[in-house]
């Protein structure tokens, strides 16, 4: 019956009371404060030692549950780990800001370059990586998944911008919430 009722087997309180004791013990300044709050607000008379013991037990159980969830998640295949949960729509825009000046990223942009290569560029071997000045702004929508929207812009556009909102507003067809 204890399992079917989800009654904590070692406690003399009901699950709802245990939930309240756990919250009060974890969020209030002291166990005495938790006892006072529970007595006044919920009319649940308990001793500080009881609150301390139950809070510790609830906390330990929560940590154990979290550890198990993390281990369970890590055991899953990479595809399942990185796929968005059902019902969650991935954002169409991602702004990546890094404190480090420059970073290297894979060069995906040669094939979709519209302007012809200059004479100097034609003499150079195709670059495997492109060095980019942060921040970067990427579209996550198909078909250009993960590709930078700023890559074909002159570096000045990047270096002159100050905020992601300004970055977004400088690109046609990309709506950025300016209020944020």
């Amino acid at each position: 019956m204890a399992k079917a009722l989800q009654r904590p087997p070692r406690e003399g309180v009901t699950p709802l009371v245990l939930e309240k004791v756990g919250w009060a013990g974890a969020n209030l300044g002291s166990y005495q404060q938790a006892v006072d709050a529970l007595a006044l607000l919920a009319e649940i008379p308990l001793a500080p030692k009881q609150v301390q013991r139950m809070t510790s037990q609830v906390g330990a159980d929560a940590v154990e549950e979290r550890t198990q969830q993390v281990q369970q998640h890590r055991r899953r295949p990479l595809m399942k780990r990185t796929t968005a949960r059902p019902g969650v729509e991935s954002s169409e825009l991602a702004v990546v800001m890094m404190d480090g000046g420059r970073f290297q990223r894979r060069d995906h942009f040669q094939e979709r370059r519209e302007t012809p290569l200059t004479a100097i560029e034609q003499t150079l071997p195709p670059a495997a990586f492109e060095e980019q000045i942060t921040p970067d702004i990427c579209s996550l929508c198909e078909p250009c998944h993960g590709q930078s929207l700023l890559a074909e812009r002159p570096p000045g556009v990047v270096s002159d911008t100050k905020t992601p909102a300004e970055l977004g507003s400088g690109i046609d067809g990309v709506a950025v919430d300016q209020t944020g």
Binding site: A2, K3, P9
Partner: protein
């Protein structure tokens, strides 16, 4: 809560108000009235919970033998363990059936998760 249940509670409250008219009228201020009605509500909650739990316990007792969660051996009911739990609306009393497995030397609540007592 569905409308049907709400209607039944309304009928019960009307009957109770009529039966306890004097007591309710004696509660002059709003604070007195609220305290009294909360007390009645709490008592109703406790009695309803105890009644449901006792009914479930009787169902479990009705089954002659229960499997031990460790070894699976069919064990007979040992006794009803009286429990007093602190609930949201006061103390809830009921008796939970307890079995004892002689092979594992442990007590267990049928359908329960943990041992009722430490191994002897």
């Amino acid at each position: 809560m569905d409308d049907q249940l709400r209607q039944r509670i309304r009928e019960m409250a009307t009957r109770l108000a009529a039966d306890e008219k004097e007591k309710l009228h004696a509660a002059g201020t709003f604070v007195d009235l609220e305290r009294l009605t909360v007390e009645i509500g709490d008592e109703l909650t406790r009695q309803l919970t105890s009644s449901v739990l006792s009914s479930r316990a009787r169902e479990v007792v009705g089954q002659p033998r229960h499997a031990c969660p460790d070894c699976g051996k069919k064990c007979s009911m040992e006794e009803l363990d009286p429990l007093i739990l602190k609930g949201m609306r006061g103390e809830v009393e009921y008796a939970e059936p307890r079995c004892f497995c002689s092979s594992c030397r442990r007590s267990f609540f049928p359908g329960g998760q943990g041992p009722a007592a430490s191994p002897a």
